[in-house]
Structure formats: C-alpha cells, structure tokens
C-alpha cells in the first residue's frame, strides 16, 4: 500500500465552502483560510473550484524567493514562509502557477496551504479533505482512488515551456495525461485574443435546455 496522497476532483465540487470554513479553524493561521474556493463564472454556471497548494516537487515559490524564506520538508511539503526571513515581496504570489500563496498584509508575511502538516505528519488527513462533503478533496491512497473513482489522477502540468510536477493529484478524464496551458495568448500585448467560445458555459443555460434537444451532461 502506498502512502496517503491528496486528490482534487473538480467534477465533484459543490461549492459549499466547508473546506474554507474548516481551514480557518486551524490554530496555526487562526481565522484565515489557506484554501481558495473559486466561483468560476456564477452568471453562467454553479461551478466552483477548490485550490489547495499543489506542493510542486520543485516548488516555484521557493525558487523565486529572494529571502530563502520558503522551505520544503523532506517529504515534499512546501511550508508557509518563515516569519524571520519573509520580506513580504510577493514574488512567490506572482510566480505560483496555481495562485496559492497570499501575502497577508496584517502580519506582513506570505502564508499558504501547508498540507495540514500538523495533521498529516502524524498520520491524520488534512482538515479540508476530511470534512469535504462531496469528497472533491480526498486524502487516500492511489490504489483506493483507482478502485473507487473514474478518470485518471494526474500531477504533471505544462505551462508554456515550464513542466511542473506536483505532489497533489487532480482527477481528469481517462484520455488526459497531462494538462497543458499555453500562456502565449494570455501574455501577448498585441490585439486581445477573440473571446473564447462560450459553448461549455452555454450548456448550463436553463433557457437553452428548455428549448432544444438536451446537450447538458457528460
């Protein structure tokens, strides 16, 4: 049996914010949640997306930190910045491809999800994945995921030329092996790219469902 690992399945998320409410209960970051729950586009959908730290094998946040304030544990967990070292420059905030670290102005320090190190280092599950009602956040073994879930867990990401491998897995359809995101269009200063096709969102227009043959569903 392999070790327990973290899996995110966006198709399960119901946006209840249990993860957020539970995360802020932690006594190490009292009242501030380290998990981000994004509402993707409420005007068109109820889709939400939880974002914990993906715990990159080679953490970009640590690499770009000029103060060497971000440390990785031997078991691959990237910690919040060290208070005596953090200079609050927000390099990590800008560099993280997943948008995880946040600069907390009140304490002049970067804080981020640390895999509930106080819990996981003693064999407990992280708080968010324990309480998650939909188990969109799950902490279990890769064998158990293979046995109980459809789709494929991946942890390889391609952002332009940058390949990122992470400790945390995301569930994707069986056919997908890695997630590629071409950043060229987004960073171009030239003419803004034409609006992306709206088809996926329009699937969630109830008015369209009432008028046409159903196209909603998987």
């Amino acid at each position: 049996m392999s070790e327990l690992a973290f899996f995110i399945d966006h198709s399960r998320c119901i946006g209840c914010r249990s993860c957020v409410q539970a995360c802020e209960e932690c006594d190490t970051h009292k009242g501030v949640s380290m998990i981000h729950l994004e509402t993707v586009e409420r005007a068109d959908s109820v889709q939400t997306a939880p974002q914990v730290c993906m715990h990159c094998v080679e953490p970009i946040c640590a690499r770009v930190c000029p103060a060497d304030a971000i440390k990785q544990t031997p078991d691959g967990v990237t910690q919040s910045s060290l208070k005596p070292r953090c200079i609050g420059c927000s390099n990590c905030v800008l560099a993280c491809p997943f948008g995880v670290p946040k600069y907390q102005a009140a304490i002049d320090q970067m804080m981020k999800c640390d895999y509930c190190y106080d819990r996981t280092s003693v064999g407990k599950r992280p708080m968010c994945a324990t309480v998650c009602p939909s188990q969109a956040l799950a902490f279990t073994t890769i064998e158990e995921i293979g046995r109980t879930r459809r789709g494929r867990p991946i942890r390889r990401w391609v952002f332009g030329d940058e390949v990122v491998e992470t400790k945390v897995y995301v569930m994707v359809p069986e056919a997908v092996e890695e997630v590629r995101l071409d950043l060229v269009a987004l960073s171009s200063k030239a003419e803004p790219a034409p609006a992306p096709p709206r088809a996926p969102h329009e699937r969630f227009d109830v008015a369209a469902l009432l008028e046409e043959e159903p196209v909603h569903g998987r």
Binding site: S11, P133, L209, E213, R218
Partner: protein
C-alpha cells in the same frame, strides 16, 4: 397584547442577532482542548457525527469524527462552525418579561414559571382548554419531542399542539404512510452507491443535505446514471447525466409521463405489482393520458427529457429515488410524492440492496420528532391520536384515563389562523420561529399581536420570541443529553458536552417544572433525559416506530440503531420492506393514482413570475442559530433574488442591483443575482432572513389538504428594479435583516 415591546433596532442591539466571528476568548486563547466529546451536529437531518472540543467547560472547537459511519468525518460549513453558539454573547441568561415600550426586563425563574402557569390556567379557565396552544419543533431530541407531546396532552390538556415539522416532512410522511404504511426512509444511505439509476426530485442536495453528495458521487463512480429534477441548475445538477429543469409544481407531469413511457416500453415489474401491491390498474389507467408531450406541457420541459429519464430509470436493475421539499412544499405536496413513489413500485425495485427510496429529512430530528407524539394527529410510536387502541396504550403508559387525552388538534398554519381569529388566546412556543419560517409573514405577525399570553422557550431571542410576554432561556443541543433519529431512521445519541450557562436551564427541566405548576408533577417526575427515553421506549412499544429494544448503550455500541427495534436482542432495521412485505395490515404497498392540478396561486398578468423559495448551504432554517455565526453570515450575508438574464434584460436589472419582489401579500427588496442556472419564468429567494428581507412575506398561506404543509415552492410575484433601501430596518446588519 403582544405587539413588539420596543422598536426592532433596539431589540436587535440588546439581543442580536450578532455575528460571532471568533471562538470564545479569541483564536489565540484556544489552546489544546481538555476533552473531545463524540456527539452529533445540531443542525440538519443528516445528523453528522462530530467531536466537540471542550476547554475550561466551554465548547471551543471541533474535530471530525471519522469513525461515525454516516459521514465519516465529513461536515458542511454549518457543522464546522456550530460550536460558536455555545459562548455566544446573545445567549439568554435569565428569564425575561416584556415591558411595554421598553423591551424586556429580567425576571426570576420562579416568577417566570409561575406567571406562565398562571396564564395557562387563566386562559383555559376563561376560554376552554383548547384556547391555549403549544408549538414545538423538529430540532428537539426524541426525549424532548416526547415530553412536549405529553406535556400538551397531560399537563395542559390541549388538543392544539403541533410542530414546525409541519413545514418540513409531513407531505413525505403522509405519502409514505399511504403507500407503505410506514413513515420513514426505506433504506439506509449505504444503499445509494449500489444503485444503477438515481432520481433526485426537488432536492438541492449540495446545499440542504451536503453529506449526501458523496453518496451520489460514489454511485456515479460505480456507473450509475443520475437524474435531477429542479427549476434551478443546482450544484449537483451541474454534472449529472440528465437535468430536467421542471417548472415549479410540474413534477407530476414528469413522473406520470415517465411511467407512461415505461409501460409502453415494457419496463414494469408486473409480477411484483401483482404479488406485493394494490392499486396498479388505476395508476396505469391514470397515466395513459400522460404522454411525454402532455407531461412536458405540465412540467414546462421538452418531452424528450422525460423520455430520456424513463430510458434511464425504466430498464435499470437497481435504483434509488430521493425526494425533498422541492416536490413536498406544495398544496399538492402529498400527491407529488405519491406520483414519485409509483415509479419505485412499478419497477419492483424496493426492499433490496441498492433498491429503494428515501425522503431527505430536513430538520435535525425531522424523523424522530414526528414519531414521539408532538404532531397534532399523533401519539408516541407514530400512533394515531384518533385510534382507540392507540389511545389506550399511551394512556396506560402515561397513567391517565384514555378519555382525558385530547383528540386531534389544529396543525401549525390553521393554528396560527385560529390565533388570528381569536379562537386561541395563549401560546407556549419552543424550537420554532414562525416570524421567519411561516408563509404570509404579515398575517403571522398580526396573529402573534392578538395573543393574550405568549411564553417562548429559546436560547436566543428569535424574531418570534420578540413578541413574547415571558421568555424562558433554554439549552443548546450540546448542553443536554438525548437521542435523535437521522435521515435514515438511525437513532443516535447526542452527548452532553457542557452544562447550560448560569441562568439558562435544560428544556426538559423547564417543561417538567411547568407541568408541576399545572398540577401534573407526578406525571413528569423525571430525573434525567434517560428516564424520559425509558418511558418513550415503553410508549412506542408495538407502534410503527418501535424504539422499545433501543437503549443508549446499544446506540453507542452499534453507532446508531435503526427503528423498528422491538426487542432488546433485535439488531434494528436498516432496510424496510425486505421480501416485498410492506407496513399495511395486508402486507402490500398501496399505489395511488395521481392527477396533476395547478398550484393555489399560479402566475397571471398582474403577478407574472413564479417565486420559489429554499435554502443556502451556510444557513439553517429560520437562521436563529446560523445568523449568529460570523463565518456562516459572511458566506452568504443576505438573500439574493436569482433570475435568468432574459427576465433581467426585460426589467433592466443587472447582478448586484436591488429588486423589489412583490406578491399579493407583501414584498422584499433584495439584491439580484442574474444567472442562466434558473428557468426564465421563475425566480428564487432563500428564506432564512426576517423583516423586509423575509421571502415568506411573499409566500402564499395555502396548505396541502392532507399533510397541511404550506406551499412554499410556488406563488405569483412581480419584479421591478429598486433603489438601494435606506430605511431603518435596512440599516441593520444583514444577519438581523438589513442589507450590506
């Protein structure tokens, strides 16, 4: 005489709701707990296991209880934050009595109880026994629900006792009793992941029963096809196989037409129907005219969606139906459920592993609290108050003459109507907040103002308790011990984590003291909730909801016991109807033919839009508790009106604008949320807020003729863009009914 004793802002300033945002003493003061108490969430019918962290005899936090089988550590945001009630600054710590024009002043317990008992006797002496009413709630433990029923019948001797489950489970319960002879979910939740086809009808599972989501997703991982019926594309509907955006009140069109298609295609288990049911022929005859086109016309959806639903449901080998308030909160709520149950029985898929159905119980003890005799028509053990044999059994347990037990009284809405028209003059209320939760709020307020005497028992001063003459400070769930019965029919044990704060008392002690002052002390001489449970066991013996073989120790050992459990060595009954044996004396299920009929108030030219109401995940019922917890308030601070962009365009409204939603009965001004995830002919406003933010200002005071549930899910409204409200009430904090 019970107009508000002071202006609302003054009452809010002293009694809240105030949003508590930190644990007692602040985040830094918490430290390691002295102990963890394995108990259950106080909120919805899922009754999740949770460990409450106690330090210095205060509840300071929680830990997930991962070994409890139902939720295995999972909690919704309400469960996560529930602990913040315990040391809440709004807690009532002394009895209060109203002072006209000033609000409330503190009063000693002896004086408060004497005044309440005296008023009960005065009103009953002057106007008759039934002129004093008792209203209770389904968030009470089984012990307290039992006690309230007995208190009303034995100490007050009024017929008029009912409870807020009248707004919740009565349509489902009445349908289940008619068809199966038993009012309980037929299956444990562990059957859900084993079903090949799942139909979720009128249940916003993600927000109202979040823990059930994982059961649905497990089924999907196993290959199940999921169908959801809802006027809104809810979070679970987003990724299901078939979402049918049914018009509010159109569900029977879908159910009957699905059955029509299943008959045509031969997906009917005729052998099961012949051997285990009655009434099929008439059902078959009835649905003959419900073609997919006719069903689609009624339901306001393309017929192809109904055919697809039948194609998923019909040929499946195993299946599970789940329904909730979306189909039940109608003046035809019972009929909606009956039509849904026909789909279960026609396929013979019930009483087996992975085959069955459940109503998703809403309130914490929504199941148990309707079995212990606090409904106007029931005695303990889910017995019938009009059945002579049932009356004799209960009279024997209570040690009273059978003829002294009052007969059937008024249910909640007619009871408020009787207060309004002066037939009922006095009220004792516990665990119920009609000034948020009942339809047609203006009428309800008028009724409360007419009471000659009103005593409220509550731990916070609810919007309704503001009208009281006497307020008695009661206890939170974690301050007392007892049992509840969860959504599956599993009886579970709530442990006491701490004692009530000084000045407040356990609810059962308050009731027993009142009973003694009414001259019935010998019938209420309990020394503990356990003693009440022991009597409840005896009272339920031989009833449908038989708890007689359940002990608190057995619950702890087995992590819950499913009723019926008729003997000490009986293991309990997780799955009902095994072998096709149903609860009626003939052992058969009784199918009921159902014809669709319109709602009490359909849209017209003057009020052209359908309003449907419901809940959000971060609030619970009338919000008395959850509007006092900062994290939950901040998640969804104030009600929003969800409307489709097509309707919004006609009104010139954008997301974030204020809209005035108006019905024949009242209005609210709330912010708009423009989204494509709702039908263009329907708007949605959640109901957890009071005053000029109360969705129930709009709803219609129409009830189902059988269950007496109010029609919360459909009334006619009109909308217009509005200026940001700036009146005194709007300037209150959003948790108190203002806007942000």
């Amino acid at each position: 005489m019970a107009k508000l004793p002071a202006p609302v802002p003054a009452l809010v300033e002293r009694f809240g709701p105030h949003a508590q945002r930190t644990p007692p003493g602040g985040w830094s003061a918490r430290g390691a707990p002295d102990r963890l108490v394995k108990t259950h969430c106080c909120f919805c019918g899922q009754q999740c296991g949770i460990e409450l962290a106690v330090k210095d005899e205060r509840v300071v936090g929680f830990e997930p209880w991962e070994d409890f089988p139902f939720n295995q550590g999972k909690l919704c945001p309400k469960g996560v934050k529930r602990y913040m009630q315990d040391q809440h600054p709004d807690r009532l710590l002394s009895p209060l009595e109203r002072v006209e024009g000033q609000g409330f002043r503190e009063l000693g317990w002896d004086a408060a109880l004497a005044r309440t008992a005296g008023e009960i006797q005065r009103i009953q002496g002057k106007y008759g026994r039934d002129a004093f009413a008792v209203l209770t709630g389904a968030s009470l433990t089984n012990e307290k629900a039992y006690l309230m029923g007995k208190f009303a019948r034995v100490a007050v001797r009024t017929a008029n006792i009912d409870y807020n489950g009248r707004l919740c489970m009565v349509s489902a319960g009445a349908a289940s009793k008619k068809v199966f002879g038993v009012d309980r979910a037929a299956n444990p939740w562990s059957d859900i992941p084993k079903a090949e086809a799942i139909l979720v009808a009128g249940a916003n599972v993600a927000e109202c029963a979040p823990i059930t989501t994982d059961y649905l997703w497990q089924a999907r991982e196993n290959g199940a096809k999921l169908i959801v019926l809802d006027p809104r594309l809810t979070p679970i509907a987003r990724t299901v196989d078939l979402f049918i955006p049914v018009r509010p009140g159109g569900d029977i069109g879908v159910f009957n037409a699905m059955l029509h298609v299943m008959i045509e295609r031969g997906w009917i288990d005729r052998r099961f129907l012949a051997e285990h049911t009655t009434g099929w022929e008439e059902v078959e005859r009835t649905v003959r005219r419900y073609t997919p086109e006719e069903g689609g016309r009624i339901a306001g959806v393309p017929p192809s969606l109904i055919v697809k639903a039948a194609e998923i449901w019909g040929p499946a080998r195993t299946s599970f139906l789940l329904h909730a308030r979306g189909i039940e909160h109608h003046s035809k709520g019972v009929e909606n459920c009956l039509a849904a149950l026909n789909l279960v029985l026609a396929t013979g898929r019930i009483g087996r592993e992975g085959c069955g159905y459940a109503m998703i119980t809403g309130q914490g003890n929504g199941q148990g609290a309707r079995e212990q005799g606090q409904k106007c028509d029931q005695l303990p053990g889910a017995r019938d108050v009009e059945n002579p044999e049932h009356r004799r059994h209960v009279a024997g347990v209570w040690g009273v003459p059978e003829e002294s037990i009052p007969h059937k009284g008024l249910s909640a809405v007619p009871l408020l109507e009787a207060i309004h028209d002066g037939r009922i003059k006095g009220l004792l209320l516990i665990c119920f907040n009609p000034m948020v939760s009942l339809p047609d709020q203006r009428f309800i307020g008028e009724a409360l103002e007419k009471l000659e005497h009103f005593t409220a028992i509550d731990f916070f001063l609810s919007e309704t308790a503001r009208y009281a003459d006497v307020v008695l400070p009661g206890s939170l769930m974690e301050e007392d011990e007892g049992t509840t019965t969860n959504v599956e029919g599993r009886v579970i044990h709530h442990q006491r984590a701490v004692r009530p704060p000084a000045g407040a008392r356990e609810d059962w002690r308050i009731i027993c003291d009142l009973a003694a002052r009414l001259g019935a002390g010998d019938k209420f001489a309990y020394d503990s909730p356990r003693a009440i449970f022991e009597e409840l066991r005896a009272a339920s013996r031989g009833g449908v909801a038989d708890y007689s073989g359940i002990t608190w120790e057995k619950i702890d050992r087995l992590k819950g016991v499913f009723w019926p459990c008729p003997a000490p060595d009986h293991p309990g009954t997780p799955r009902l109807y095994e072998g096709g044996r149903f609860g009626h004396p003939d052992g058969r299920a009784h199918l009921q033919p159902v014809e669709w009929r319109p709602a009490a108030e359909e849209p017209d030219e003057e009020y052209p839009i359908v309003l449907t109401t419901g809940r959000v995940v971060s609030q619970y019922l009338s919000g008395t508790q959850t509007r006092r917890i900062g994290g939950l308030v901040d998640q969804y601070p104030q009600p929003q009106c969800e409307l489709h962009p097509r309707l919004a365009a006609k009104l010139g409204v954008a997301s974030g604008d204020y809209v005035k939603v108006e019905s024949r009965r009242g209005a609210v001004v709330v912010r708009a949320l423009v989204t494509t995830t709702i039908r263009p002919d329907t708007v949605f406003v959640p109901y957890h807020w009071p005053l000029t933010r109360a969705a129930n200002n709009l709803t219609v005071r129409a009830i189902d003729p059988v269950s007496n549930i109010p029609e919360f899910k459909i009334c006619a409204v009109r909308l217009a863009k509005a200026a940001p409200p700036a009146d005194e009430l709007s300037r209150l904090a959003p948790e108190a009914g203002g806007v942000r």
